[in-house]
């Protein structure tokens, strides 16, 4: 398809398309699912409340650390929030009990299962014949809370991130960052990033844009990873301003002060600039990975198919079936044709043989007939000749006889007369 650039000679009007899309998306509303994972006491609920400036977690709806469980649970709460005409259905998924047991082996499994089950739900509703509005309950982002030990990642941290980085967008956070001095924090961050790279963990990456300005900002953020955050439910007055913060005898750690912690960076990135991208990456990368693995398993386990053994086909199972059907039809046609040919040939052979033997017999019959006729003729001829001979001879005999008779008579007469 030839694509050509065309210059317009005047205002056409499709530049309003973005507005149309804008209005549509506002009307539809948005949904976002955020998962928080970390040991209890790391300030997860406080951070969520601070991020969304609302009492998502409260005494009525306690955070995960207050809902101590014997085994790791995966629970979710849904809240509907509105801002500036935009409606957001926010689902927070938390994991009470994570990392709190003595033996935490496999404590990530319920989380993985939960993520997969959401993918499965989506896949099923996407695969229905009658599709309706598909609610998207897939996990769009996972905030992983790292305890501020200052010394690097714990084995559990590494294990968890390694197992989840290809299923969900993982954003690691240093929790309760107000227990680290800036230098300690710097060190800690460097150490963590080193370990993350070492273990080839793929945390959420900020997409590159065409905008230079933006890219510079993105680079600045990248340098500060992982983000060190502080959350607070209380509002304190500092220098005449009312801010969220944590009051200490030695001062107030302000949540939204970028000198104190990276909270604003997190909030801006998570909510104000990259929320949609987190959803897109979940849809285009993590979900597609899940889907292609799931479907490939299906076609592989299907009935004997020697093609699938070689390549992981990029075809849909339906298209594959269609192709197999066509192949089979072609194969059948060919088989039919071949059988037909063989059959025709055999018949021709037999018919020919029959013809040949008929011809042979006919020939023999003809020959025999001719032979007999010839013999007949010969016999006839012989008979004729013989009869001729015989009648001739008989005639001659008669003549002779007559002659003899005559001469005898003459003799007799002679004797009678002449001798005296």
């Amino acid at each position: 398809v030839l694509q050509q650039q065309k210059n317009l000679d005047g205002y056409v009007g499709f530049a309003s398309l973005p507005n149309q899309v804008y209005r549509k998306s506002v009307k539809r509303g948005f949904e976002f699912t955020l998962m928080v994972v970390g040991e209890s006491g790391l300030g997860k609920s406080t951070l969520i409340n601070s991020l969304f400036l609302t009492d998502l977690y409260s005494t009525e709806y306690p955070g995960p650390s207050h809902r101590i469980k014997k085994t790791v649970q995966v629970e979710q709460s849904k809240v509907l929030i509105k801002e500036g005409g935009v409606q957001l259905l926010l689902t927070i998924v938390d994991t009470p009990g994570f990392g709190d047991a003595v033996d935490n082996s496999n404590c990530w499994q319920p989380i993985i299962d939960h993520i997969d089950s959401k993918f499965e739900d989506y896949l099923n509703s996407e695969s229905r014949v009658n599709r309706r509005q598909m609610p998207d309950s897939r996990i769009h982002c996972c905030l992983y809370f790292i305890a501020p030990s200052g010394h690097g990642l714990k084995p559990l941290d590494i294990e968890f991130m390694k197992r989840l980085h290809e299923k969900v967008n993982v954003i690691p956070l240093i929790a309760k960052a107000d227990t680290l001095t800036p230098e300690e924090c710097q060190q800690f961050k460097k150490q963590i990033m080193r370990e993350i790279q070492e273990h080839k963990i793929k945390i959420y990456e900020f997409p590159e844009t065409d905008d230079e300005e933006e890219n510079r900002l993105v680079k600045k953020i990248k340098d500060k990873l992982p983000l060190a955050v502080v959350g607070s439910n209380t509002i304190i007055e500092v220098n005449g301003k009312r801010v969220r913060g944590r009051q200490y005898p030695w001062g107030v750690a302000e949540v939204e002060n970028s000198d104190h912690c990276d909270f604003t960076i997190l909030r801006d990135m998570l909510i104000r600039t990259h929320m949609q991208d987190l959803k897109d990456v979940t849809n285009n990368v993590h979900y597609e990975n899940y889907r292609s693995r799931k479907l490939a398993a299906v076609t592989y386990n299907g009935v004997d198919n020697n093609k699938a053994k070689g390549q992981l086909s990029t075809k849909s199972p339906l298209a594959q079936m269609e192709e197999e059907r066509r192949e089979h039809v072609a194969k059948m046609k060919k088989m039919e044709m071949e059988m037909e040919q063989v059959f025709e040939m055999k018949v021709k052979e037999k018919v020919q043989k029959l013809k040949d033997s008929e011809a042979e017999l006919q020939r023999r019959h003809e020959q025999m007939k001719k032979n007999l006729e010839a013999q007949h003729k010969e016999l006839e001829e012989k008979r004729r000749v013989f009869e001729d001979e015989r009648s001739n001879w008989e005639l001659q005999q008669r003549l002779e006889q007559q002659k003899m008779e005559a001469s005898r008579t003459l003799e007799k007469n002679k004797k009678k007369g002449k001798i005296f």
């Binding site: 317009l8 973005p18 400036l53």
Partner: protein, 421 residues
Amino acid sequence: MVIKNEEMRSLELSGQVGFNSLPHQVVRKLVSQGFCFNILCVGETGIGKSTLINTLFNTTFENEEADHYEPEVKLRSQTYELQEHTVKLKLTIVHTVGFGDQINKDESCKPILDYIEAQFEKYLEEELKIKRSLSNYDDTRIHICLYFIAPTGHTLKSLDLVMMKKLDSKVNIIPIIAKADIMSKTDLGNLKKKIMTELQSYGVQIYQFPNKDEEVGEINSSLNARLPFAVVGSTEDVKIGNRMVKARSYPWGAVQVENEEHCDFVHLREMLLRVNMDDLREQTHSRHYELYRRCKLQEMGFKDTDPDSQSFSLQEMYEAKRREFFKELQHREESMRQMFVNKVKETEAELKEKEKELHERFEVLKRMHQEEKRNLEEKRRELEEEMNAFNRRKVAAETLMGQALQGCSQQPLKKEKDKKK
């Protein structure tokens, strides 16, 4: 938005959170990707399809003028990249060539329907692939079909009715009265009414501009009332007063394309490009494509096993399908083989019969020959005997003769002998 009946709370925000930028985030992404829009123009040769498109987009797209002698209806598509401000648009225009020109128009509809369905098919295939890339899929599905109605006559042609009825479940249709400058205002009004009544009574579903939206609902309602749009197209600039406007100039005046009093062009442009372009794309995807997909899957034998309360396993469905499928194939193979075996048996029997017949026939002949031979032998023997008999006579006669002769010769000797005495 679907809200599950899980416990959900509405909460108040105590400050500026910032997720009201979400629509901006969405739009930003789309703008950077660019949009695509695909228009299908269906109409007779020479009715003004290309001119109208040129006028709509204020540019001259390449076009070969067609003659009236195409043996069948064909479709020709061209893609252009346009940009307006920061918005990039990949516009594909598909024209019918030869529509309405044939003496027998029975086959006119098929190529057009096939084309539309082929684009759905392409999308469906991509959607069903194992490794798919839907996010940067080159979408060729037709978003809008502009159906050009000839401004002659008092009603729709039967071909138009039939065609639009076939199209209405596959694509968004907007009927347009082309070359509207031929008709007077009253005639045009009557024709519009007549067309709409006919479409309604025939059950043709044309595209309805969404009028439920608070912002654009009103505009759209008024636009709905003006259907079908009577348009005039022109890319020539004519000086009217002290402005240059697009118009068609006649000796008796100039028809201004963008003059609402003269034709509905501005309304068409308004509706198509400035107000509802996104809705057209939306309808194509969520209504027409879904319908196609549903039918196609049902055709292939897929069905939802339960109502949406239970989720079924995709795996099971596919596996079951495949097993069934292979069984069917095997069965077909078997029956074909069986058929052949029977055929062979039959023919063999036939041929055997023939062989038997043949041999019988020749047996008969053989016996005949043997008879003949025997006769011949008989006759030969007879002849032999006769010949022998004859020979014997001959011999007998000859000896007798000989004796007689001897006697005769002896007799004279005897006489002589007597004489001597």
